[in-house]
């Protein structure tokens, strides 16, 4: 059998299409399979105005099923004369079968009467007529709305539904819309009749509508490349914009538009943002990779010449706006704007951006020094901190907020600031997301860390730590940024010192220790989440963090070393021994003084091993050579095992007991430098 379901809607948000379609494909397959109709091959189609699924290869009817129902006990079923009792007659009637068809069977609970009925398998038509409505309404959307007088919620209003099983319509009614075989082509054209599910794609293709999303994307790219190629240019295919454009058109028609070459003197980011974010055009570049005064638009309808001229006009106007803001902003040097920040609040109760600029002016040099910056980079750190937020009062940032920092960098250069300062201002918000790069310049990294720690400390002090899945202030992202920068570039920096410095510039007084602790704990949690997301085992990450993690950047190296070490069977043994030792120590009396060996060979062997291994472990830790650390620690495993096998730790004689406990203490301490191995010992 073949099914076509098309949900006709008013234009869906571009970002809603793919998740909706994925759900619909999976849910259609499940509906068919759960009804016993077998595995269907399901494909999804979409345009901004339609979500559709085509399913094929499923059975017309589910197999019949035999249903057995237990009735009265054999004893209660017949009277002494062997005649059916009233109870048996009632059971047969309730089951809709004759008494003569009933059977008696012996079971563990005695002999009972059973009725057997054959339930006819439901037809595909019945299943779909009943299930398609829920399928349509079940599509999950991030945001839904109501329309007209209906109570139904959907991403946008539903306007038509096509439901065909082979060549016949399946009638369903959803949101006051009754399904049939009529679909719609382009707006303003008469409805089209879908004769059978297999005809759907080609029927719409004849009207110029490409319902296959991948095909639409492919065509846009192929035609776009060809257009650019004619002029020896290349399209800068930005995935985010291309993905969106694919879901903004159903009859894609790329065209190449032009804009005045003078506009190329605007900052490139302004041009690219205006084209991509605002107009959904793709930028076009010349052979050297520089922006060319062209853009690739993708139209949906209309006469190309008319549409191109219109789009060119819009882009011209937008770039003229940007030019206006840019020229206006440049009338004043960037540094003059810092005092204007007094009028901009950072966050309720947390003062102005001017106060923030002043804190960054003090904090950035301290962070820079801790991160090992020297020379001009270090000398300019205060300047970068002071100017970091100055672009917030510019018209260009007001107009294009996504360009904060980038605009500041440009204006810094034009105002005669040094290149390191400009670069740092431009990179302060990096990384903006998990896939984004961290700042390339050392001062950029110091400023980015300072900016994020300043925000974290301030907002935590105001009790604005994120709760649940909500993170409106982007604190998780900020924490992740700090972690990634330190991890990738400054692994040995003690994050607690940086947090303390940030708390000091906030002048939190007596609360500073408590807030710093909260921020540190928050960073640790985010680090744990990050490493687990990257595929490290949760218990390994937890073991490393439990051993202390002040140098955040080293945690990853320690996790990697421990992960590698755990491939060695020795490792688990050592972990088990470690746990055993730790368990005994928990119950042991506080450390006594002195103590002496009980003379057991196993005791002496462990002592000797510790004497040998301890300096190696210290050296490995000091050098950050965690692999060497574990290699050295592994040498303890055999002596520890033997010790446990042959020695009674809790000896009766107190000095001997103290000596043995001290050996265990040294063992645990020796193994805990990189990770708390006891956490890995399983349940033994």
């Amino acid at each position: 059998m073949e099914l076509l379901l098309e949900i006709g809607v008013e234009e869906l948000p571009a970002a809603a299409v793919v998740p909706a379609l994925d759900w619909l494909v999976a849910a259609t397959g499940k509906l068919i399979a759960d009804a016993g109709l077998g595995d269907a091959r399901v494909r999804g189609y979409s345009t901004p105005r339609r979500l559709a699924v085509h399913a094929a290869g499923f059975a017309p009817q589910a197999p019949d099923r035999v249903v057995r129902t237990r009735g009265p006990s054999l004893r209660a079923a017949y009277d002494e004369a062997g005649r059916p009792t009233a109870a048996l007659g009632g059971f047969a009637r309730a089951q809709g079968v004759g008494v003569e068809t009933l059977v008696a069977e012996e079971g563990p609970g005695g002999a009972y009467i059973y009725a057997q009925r054959t339930v006819l398998g439901r037809t595909a038509r019945e299943v779909l007529a009943e299930g398609l409505g829920d399928l349509v309404l079940g599509v999950p959307f991030a945001r839904t709305m109501r329309w007209g007088t209906l109570a139904v919620r959907y991403a946008r209003p539903i306007r038509w539904i096509v439901a065909l099983l082979d060549a016949e319509p399946v009638a369903i009614t959803v949101a006051n819309v009754t399904s049939g075989r009529l679909t719609r082509g382009r707006r303003g054209e008469a409805p089209l009749v879908v004769s059978e599910p297999g005809a759907y794609v080609s029927l719409l293709a004849e009207r110029g509508i490409v319902v296959d999303r991948d095909e639409r994307r492919h065509r846009i790219v192929a035609q776009g490349d060809a257009l650019a190629h004619e002029r020896a240019l290349t399209v800068d295919w930005r995935t985010e914009t291309l993905d969106e454009v694919v879901d903004l058109v159903e009859s894609p028609h790329p065209f190449l538009g032009e804009f005045p070459a003078e506009a190329l003197s605007l900052p490139e980011a302004v041009l690219v943002t205006t084209m991509t974010h605002h107009q959904r055009y793709l930028p076009v570049r010349d052979a050297r990779g520089a922006l060319a005064p062209f853009f690739l638009g993708v139209m949906n309808h209309g006469d190309e010449a008319v549409v191109r001229l219109g789009n060119e006009r819009v882009l011209r106007a937008r770039l003229a706006d940007a030019r206006f803001f840019y020229e206006n902003d440049r009338r004043r040097p960037l540094a003059d704007r810092v005092e204007d920040l007094a009028a901009v609040t950072f966050y309720t109760g947390l003062g102005s951006l001017l106060a923030r600029a002043r804190r960054l002016e003090r904090l950035t040099p301290r962070v820079a020094r801790a991160m090992g910056l020297t020379g001009e980079e270090l000398a300019q750190a205060a300047r970068a901190g002071r100017l970091a937020k100055a672009d917030q009062t510019t018209d260009l940032v007001r107009e294009l907020p996504e360009l904060e920092g980038i605009v500041g960098a440009r204006y810094a250069l034009e105002s005669g600031e040094s290149e390191v300062v400009a670069a740092a201002i431009g990179e302060q918000y990096l990384p903006r997301g998990p896939e984004d790069d961290i700042p390339a310049s050392p001062l950029g990294r110091a400023l980015a860390v300072s900016d994020k720690l300043d925000a974290l400390v301030g907002l935590f002090s105001a009790g604005r730590e994120p709760t649940g899945s909500e993170d409106p202030l982007g604190l998780r992202r900020a924490a992740l940024g700090v972690i990634r920068i330190l991890m990738e570039m400054s692994p040995s920096v003690a994050v607690a010192e940086l947090i303390a410095a940030a708390a000091e510039t906030w002048e939190l007084g007596a609360r500073s220790g408590e807030v710093a602790k909260q921020v540190a704990a928050f960073l640790h949690t985010r680090l744990e989440v990050l490493l687990v997301q990257r595929g490290y085992r949760p218990e390994v990450v937890a073991a490393v963090l439990a051993a202390g993690a002040d140098a955040l950047g080293e945690v990853k190296a320690r996790v990697e070393a421990l992960t590698a070490f755990l491939a060695d069977p020795l490792a688990m043994d050592l972990a088990v021994s470690h746990r055993r030792a730790a368990r005994i120590l928990r119950k042991a009396p506080p450390e006594g003084s002195g103590g002496r060996s009980g003379g057991e060979p196993a005791e002496l062997e462990l002592e000797a091993a510790l004497e040998r291994v301890e300096p190696e472990l210290r050296r490995a830790l000091a050098q950050g050579d965690y692999a060497a650390f574990f290699r050295a620690a592994a040498a303890l495993r055999a002596p520890v095992d033997r010790f446990f096998d042959e020695v009674t730790v809790m000896a009766e004689e107190a000095p001997v007991r103290d000596f043995r406990l001290s050996l265990l203490r040294r063992t645990v301490a020796a193994c805990s430098g990189v990770a708390d191995l006891g956490r890995l010992g399983g349940t033994t």
Binding site: W147, L248, G302, D303, V306, G349
Partner: protein, 280 residues
Amino acid sequence: MLLQDVIFRLGEYWAGEGCLIGLPYDVEKGAGTMNPLTFFRALGPEPWRVAYVEPSRRPADGRYGENPNRLFQHLQYQVVLKPSPDNVQDVYLGSLERLGIGPEHDVRFVEDNWEAPTLGAWGLGWEVWLDGMEITQFTYFQQMGGVELSPVSVEITYGLERITAYLQGVESVFDVKVSPDVTYRQLYLDAEYQQSRYAFEVADARWLQEAFTSAEAEARRALDAGLYLAAYDLALRCSHLFNLMDARRAVGVSERMGLIERIRSLTHQAATAHLARVEG
């Protein structure tokens, strides 16, 4: 097509669709939604169809008349259909045809979710793009005055200057011909310059704050007296004063939320008072 012809044709078209042709409201406001013909009529169960021009002031958008596309005040053509009809997109496209915008153009509906925090209003819909230019805001209202709406109204707001500039093929809205003899420049350039200068440089921040507080207090008095329409006018005044403060950069991010909340509280009370009256 002259700007006044655009207004005439839209009026004829929407009157033909059963709309009352309404009038602009005489209190300063940022959008046609704030006209009582939309704000109050979107509430409650009664069907309603209206269309009108609304001069809308957005102080922060003022550019001293130097920018070809940005205006302190622009003209909205506002249409409200309640309940939203099933063929509303086609009806809207019909209005564009009436303006001579036919199938040779690329008209697109691009997601845009609308919100007017001071009105306690939000809705889902689109900005309509004509060959890449936003010409209309198209919204299915979900809430107004903080009240969930049923039935749902659809609001169609045309930007008259942009559409007319496009139809006349001019690059600057100031070159738009309003009538055969008068340009937009002649009508509004001085106002753009003076209003921008006032909003950005001259307005007295302290006076704005005092005026806001006093209008708010007066609105509360009117609400207490059960005169929610008078209170609503005062809330609109607060909203405009707030916009002026914003343009003057006299509002911090924190205060901002507080001021918006104060206006929203007034419009919410006006909305519930109105509902209590009509549902009586």
